[in-house]
């Protein structure tokens, strides 16, 4: 950016300070408060309980599983978009965006029907003779990952589509002419091309999944506890706001570390094709 452009950034900077940095600072400050003044007791309480630590690990695992699932589904859809004509591209974008026009709550409740004992998954497995009696995927991590994957899929497809729509399809043809097989093309041409979009998608999906509340609570039930539910419990049921603030800070730092790790991996020289 040119030095003369700085004044244009000032409004955004002020908004960020007023509505992000300041509340965040208040939250961090609150996490160090106790009945007898500043204290580390809230963090001690959180890490002193093995249950809380397990919840933190479960939350990170849920985020990573959803990132993996959305990547496995999103990349083929984005590549299909890349190789499609104008009309097919419009259809793919329409089908990607249309679920986003429905409330997250409605989509979550629709998943109760899909994952339930009388839902299409159970009926299909029964019909195929793979299970002996109706089964429910409600209150299971698998069911939750499936629901989160559908809800967050646009978050990975859209950045990929944005990148690929600016990339000529001839890149892969050039690699083919040079004798590269499909897997080599995928690994050495397509992945490096898509990497910025993948990174953006991973960050969005991970952040969305690990901070989601409604879907986790409804599909996961009370057996699968994640950090947002823990924070809600401390604020809304136990009224222990300093501890809730400490948990929020821990969530922020732990997810932040994972996001930094993802960024560093994606910038690895060999991965981006400069090795």
């Amino acid at each position: 950016m040119k030095a003369g452009g700085f004044p244009y950034v000032i409004p955004m900077l002020l908004l960020s300070v007023a509505f992000f940095a300041t509340p965040l600072a208040v939250l961090v400050g609150y996490s160090f408060t106790g009945s007898e003044g500043p204290t580390l007791a809230n963090y001690g309480h959180f890490f002193g309980d093995a249950f809380n630590f397990r919840v933190l690990v479960n939350t990170a695992r849920l985020g990573l599983e959803t990132v993996l699932a959305t990547t496995l589904l999103g990349v083929p859809i984005a590549l299909l978009y890349w190789h499609s004509g104008k009309t097919a591209r419009q259809v793919i974008i329409f089908l990607t965006l249309i679920p986003m026009l429905t409330s997250n709550v409605v989509r979550t409740f629709a998943w109760i029907v899909i994952l339930g004992r009388q839902g299409p998954i159970s009926e299909a497995l029964l019909g195929l003779g793979l299970i002996g009696r109706p089964m429910s995927l409600m209150f299971t991590e698998l069911g939750l990952v499936m629901a989160m994957c559908q809800i967050d899929l646009p978050l990975i497809i859209l950045p990929l589509v944005a990148i690929l729509s600016r990339t000529p399809v001839q890149y892969t043809e050039a690699a083919q002419v040079s004798g590269a097989g499909p897997w080599r093309i995928f690994v050495t041409v397509l992945i490096p091309l898509m990497l910025p979009g993948l990174l953006a998608g991973w960050i969005l999906v991970f952040a969305s999944t690990s901070s989601s509340f409604v879907t986790q609570a409804v599909i996961g039930g009370a057996r699968n506890v994640y950090v947002p539910q823990l924070i809600y419990r401390e604020v809304g049921t136990l009224f222990d706001w300093p501890l809730a603030s400490a948990i929020a800070v821990v969530l922020l730092l732990s997810t932040g570390c994972l996001l930094v790790a993802m960024t560093m991996i994606s910038r690895h020289r060999r991965l981006v094709g400069h090795g």
């Binding site: 409600m138 209150f139 409804v218 039930g221 009370a222």
Partner: protein
């Protein structure tokens, strides 16, 4: 893909549109005059109060905004900004009322401002606000899927119910009332919650059905995922009104009950409208409607006759025989119970 372009004219029109849209609620509010912001429970309560009370409050010359929120959430929101409450009135049971008094977020009311105050039995004339109904709790079941349970013991000892019963955590009043009853049956008294935790440990199939709230249970019941859950008679009335096979059974050990009261928050900004809302809630006109399905609320106004459906659950004479939990003792232990139970459920 077409490039996204935003001209200054487009941006100006967009900004003007956003400004106009955001100003609309203020314009609507200004036109309605003073409006009470009343917190009510979501679902049946929200629908019933919005439909029945809004016109009555309007007749009195005020507006009414019904804000759905669970009792614990109401407390959390008001405690978050003391002196500048999010609601003018709260709706809660004695458990939350005790917390609200301790935290100085509700105030004593002036009964002379309620025309219908005299229509309430003295037991329903609380100094912190009127009792608008008594919630009678028990067990809801689907008669197509399971036989009528006798009580809590039956749910654990009869294998027919295995995997079909749903429970919630200690954050729910309905759940707490059931667990204190179970503590009496399986332990040494209502506060012997270790006996209840042991019961769940010995019956892990029951832990699989633990969900976050009664509202989630109603959805799962509707989908046939569960066949039994701890409920109020209002929950069953709601399910029946949707055409579902749902029946209420009072446990053989007694039905827990809890009065539901309207409270005035400290710092309430719309006092006149709040009093008009409270008066409407205890009026004969309102309670004559709210006693009917799908709300089926027990009327606290003496002039309102009970319906046969409500009398099947409880009569005015039987009110004294209901089980009324010791909320002081519950509040003292609740945080510990919540944490212990959540850890138990999560395995």
């Amino acid at each position: 893909m077409n490039d996204f372009k935003m001209t200054r004219r487009n941006f100006g029109l967009l900004a003007a549109g956003v400004a106009a849209a955001s100003a609309m609620p203020f314009a609507a509010r200004a036109a309605a005059g003073e409006t009470a912001i009343a917190a009510t429970f979501p679902g049946n309560w929200e629908d019933g109060y919005r439909t029945v009370l809004s016109p009555l409050v309007k007749e009195a010359g005020y507006g009414l905004t019904i804000a759905p929120s669970m009792a614990q959430d109401q407390l959390a929101k008001v405690m978050a900004s003391p002196g500048n409450p999010a609601y003018d009135t709260l709706l809660m049971s004695p458990g939350q009322m005790a917390v609200a008094i301790d935290n100085d977020i509700i105030q004593k009311i002036d009964p002379s401002r309620l025309k219908n105050w005299g229509m309430l039995d003295p037991a329903f004339q609380g100094e912190y606000g009127p009792t608008v109904t008594i919630e009678v709790n028990g067990i809801a079941y689907n008669p197509d899927l399971v036989p009528r349970p006798k009580g809590y013991r039956d749910l654990f000892e009869n294998p027919t119910y295995s995997g079909l019963v749903s429970w919630t955590g200690f954050g729910s009043n309905t759940a707490v009332m059931a667990y204190t009853e179970m503590a009496k049956i399986f332990g040494s008294g209502p506060n012997d919650m270790d006996a209840v935790f042991k019961l769940f440990k010995d019956h892990p199939e029951h832990l699989k059905g633990v969900v976050d709230s009664t509202n989630h249970q109603m959805t799962l019941f509707q989908q046939g995922e569960i066949a039994v859950f701890m409920c109020s008679t209002g929950n069953v009335a709601r399910l029946k009104s949707m055409g579902l096979k749902a029946e209420y059974v009072a446990p053989e050990t007694g039905a827990p009950a809890a009065p539901v009261n309207i409270h005035l928050t400290k710092g309430a900004k719309n006092l006149d409208a709040a009093y008009a809302y409270m008066d409407a809630a205890i009026s004969k006109a309102a309670q004559d409607k709210l006693k009917l399905p799908p709300t089926e609320m027990f009327p606290t106004n003496k002039d309102v006759a009970l319906t046969p459906e409500i009398e099947a659950y409880v009569t005015r004479e039987q009110l004294g025989n209901m089980v009324y939990p010791d909320w002081v003792a519950i509040n003292k232990n609740r945080a510990d119970w919540i944490r212990q139970f959540d850890a138990l459920v999560a395995g």
